[in-house]
Symmetry: C2
DNA sequence: GCAAAAGTGTTTCGTTTACACCCATGC
DNA sequence: GCATGGGTGTAAACGAAACACTTTTGC
């Protein structure tokens, strides 16, 4: 514990990063929250995050905090807003650079054991610490907008997935319903998926993805993303918003 | 000149705001730059901005700096990215929250006289100070994306304008060309404009807008935005990107 | 009178939407 | 065997794209 102090001629706010981490289990979109052990907001849930070091940029800081607090390595991370209200932290002036992160179901750890981190379905999110309710609203809106331009939805899916899964994902993100037949048609027409042989049905991947085996109906075909299409896809919208 | 110092247990970056200010003169999209009088980057052009005060949030700080440095009062201001690279400022660690601002032609001042501020057409922008070349690229991309969702284009037009002006504006922002007839048809169909009587042709507004009177062809009809349509329009895209 | 810019309508094409029946699986 | 979820095709409606000629104005 050194006692070095840092002095400036003008007051400086503290700078932190916060991460809104989304994942998708095949049915529901979820976010990871951490329960605070200390005041302020002791016992409240909040997004993982922490102070920015002087030798890292914001993205590196966000990834480091994520690793430290949750062990997660996201598939996609992206800055979406910086929150600067004067009183957003009662301790001192804190400016928070917020990111959203997308995690594949195969990478989901944390929240399984008795840790202080837990995955919440969007509709089960409790009242959050600090201004994190507001942070979440902006994150959700940004995700909706982004998916309009970029195919980041696939960053939330495992290697193999079914078309109805993709549909549930897009419906969860955009909070609208699509016609099953039109959705399937459009996705197939885009020529970005290839069918996966049924042998692979027994792989660990699949069991993971279908873990809630309350599946009653007909078994859906498995697809994978055609890697060679990735570059040209990255900046393509998949489903236009139609309200 | 007080000599008070501010001390912290951990190092804090400095926090600034920067503004990319767009305006439109009826033909070209322009941005306002300020020539630096001091090192570092003395003589280089840069976006206006400055340090965030402790009693204001980022938007307030950006508006204050804008007012101080340029006297401009923007029609629309919006945070778009926070730049955090470790070495982006050689003096100290500086995190910059960047905004873009849209100014109506009637509000354009600054850069007219012999000040250190000047409006540049996008294609005439020189090499900029700090990482502002990168800041500009992100600002331009954000503007393109935003205009897809929101009708912020009208924040760049004066009270009265012609449809060909609107078209030139959208073409400048999106860097694509539209068919004149389809553009006009779509804009009219949206039912958000009303024609302005020709009497008003002699108003000061109009002369301002048409200031580069190298106009050779037929005189275009003047329109104004139907205010009562504003609320429902705010979140509507006008022209979808089609490359 | 000529060049440059703006006004105007129709047809074609592609995309989106709406919609119904059959099939496989788990209980 | 029945309820649930998934597979598949077609027709209608809508919106986007392509396209040419006339009018006004400044030089």
């Amino acid at each position: 514990m050194e006692k070095q102090l840092y002095t400036y001629k003008y007051p400086h706010p503290a700078v932190t990063t916060d991460c809104v981490i989304f994942s998708f289990d095949g049915n529901d979109l979820k976010v990871l929250l951490i329960q605070r052990g200390n005041n302020p907001y002791k016992g409240y849930w909040a997004f993982p995050g922490g102070f920015l070091n002087m030798d890292e940029n914001a993205e590196q800081g966000a990834l480091r905090e994520l690793q430290e607090e949750t062990g997660l390595i996201p598939n996609h991370i992206e800055q979406f807003h910086t929150f600067t209200d004067v009183d957003r932290d009662p301790r001192e002036r804190v400016v928070s650079i917020a990111f959203f992160a997308l995690i594949k179901p195969t990478d989901v750890r944390g929240g399984d054991d008795a840790s202080d981190a837990k995955w919440f379905k969007l509709k089960d999110i409790p009242r959050l610490a600090f201004d994190h309710d507001y942070v979440f609203r902006i994150a959700q809106r940004t995700l909706k907008e982004k998916i309009h331009f970029e195919s980041i939805g696939f960053d939330l899916l495992g290697e193999n997935f079914t078309i109805p899964e993709v549909q549930r994902l897009y419906e969860a993100i955009l909070e609208i319903k699509f016609d099953r037949r039109n959705f399937q048609k459009k996705l197939i027409q885009m020529d970005i998926l290839e069918e996966v042989e049924t042998e692979e049905e027994f792989s660990k991947q699949v069991r993971n993805t279908n873990k809630d085996s309350s599946s009653k109906g007909r078994k859906a075909k498995k697809y994978r993303f055609r890697q060679e299409k990735y570059e040209e896809m990255k900046n393509t919208d998949i489903f236009k918003l139609e309200f």
